[in-house]
Symmetry: C3
Subunit: 139 residues, 3 copies
């Protein structure tokens, strides 16, 4: 059994946005009891990450750390035509994930108690982002 759904997420600019509930809904709609759920972010300046869901300070610190290791406006960037926030967006996307593969067990996403699935918007301005969800497995 397979089901694909396209989700749209409107971001308010740079930040980390929870997707767990929306992806869980697709899994439940598919009715798969045991299988896989692949989530794919169709952009190169936004990406996915599985990280702590309880304390939002974790996401704040993760965002701030990515800004330190891949800073905006670094003089060494040559890809600058789309603004100072574009090249670091590609770097931050490259070391997080374009897609995440989650296991489905007992009809639910098998995430640890502290795990959530998030879309990271790496551009400064608001964007509309598209995420594709593929669910497969046994009913």
């Amino acid at each position: 059994m397979q089901l694909q759904r396209s989700l749209e997420l409107r971001t308010e600019g740079r930040g980390i946005y929870e997707l767990t509930d929306r992806v869980s809904e697709v899994v439940r709609a598919a009715g798969v009891r045991e299988g896989l759920c692949v989530v794919s972010c169709l952009h190169t300046s936004a990406s996915l990450v599985v990280t702590e869901c309880a304390d939002p300070a974790v996401r704040t610190d993760l965002q701030a750390w990515l800004e330190r290791i891949a800073p905006e406006g670094d003089a060494s960037y040559t890809h600058t035509a789309e603004g100072p926030d574009d090249m670091p967006a590609h770097l931050r996307a490259a070391i997080t994930s374009a897609s995440e593969t989650l296991i489905i067990s007992a009809g639910e996403l098998a995430l640890g108690v502290w795990q959530g699935l998030y879309l990271m918007e790496h551009r400064a301005a608001p964007h509309s982002r598209r995420v594709l969800v593929h669910v497969q497995g046994d009913l």
Copy 2:
């Protein structure tokens, strides 16, 4: 054909622990000849990585490098309630992998001759970690 197994790993604190053999056993138990094996780490301060299996110095250097780029006790962290090793654990987990997808060929994990699958324990203290293995494919 699908099979899921939950593995428990007791870590002795920060370090890199091999999982290849235990995951390979699940693949052989499933009897899948051609398919996929998804391994998921259900924690946000431990993660997975596929890296060199021959020289343990690679793992030592990888660990040391992650400690340099995401240092313990950085003054800019705001998520500090669980100790100075917790926020860097989330950062190191975010840029490695919550899950790894391996191809099964000829009844075995299709890994390169120098590749091994490892769990990274990012917390200083020993922990019990749970890893979920999902195997699917043709017998």
Copy 3:
């Protein structure tokens, strides 16, 4: 329906090499309309990344940035027997991806308009690299 193909890529040393077309050919050969495509790089000093396909300067900057954060010949490396470019190759591979999972929709890889799939050669010298492609889904 499942199909596996092994691709060989001869690199000219450190750099980022496009794989999108060759992987797309495997998907079309399989005839899968809706499913998954897992691409696995069977090496520990080469890796995969999904990044911007339009402006090659993005790949140049990504390469240069990885060289800055995981520099060649760092005095702290202990795994040095295979040359000064080997340990940073493992580090750069560890924070990009050993495998990428792409969704197949309407018979094609579901990539965003700016996304391409690339192999990163992290060693200085030319190498022959093997990439395994697994396609599965409904015809």
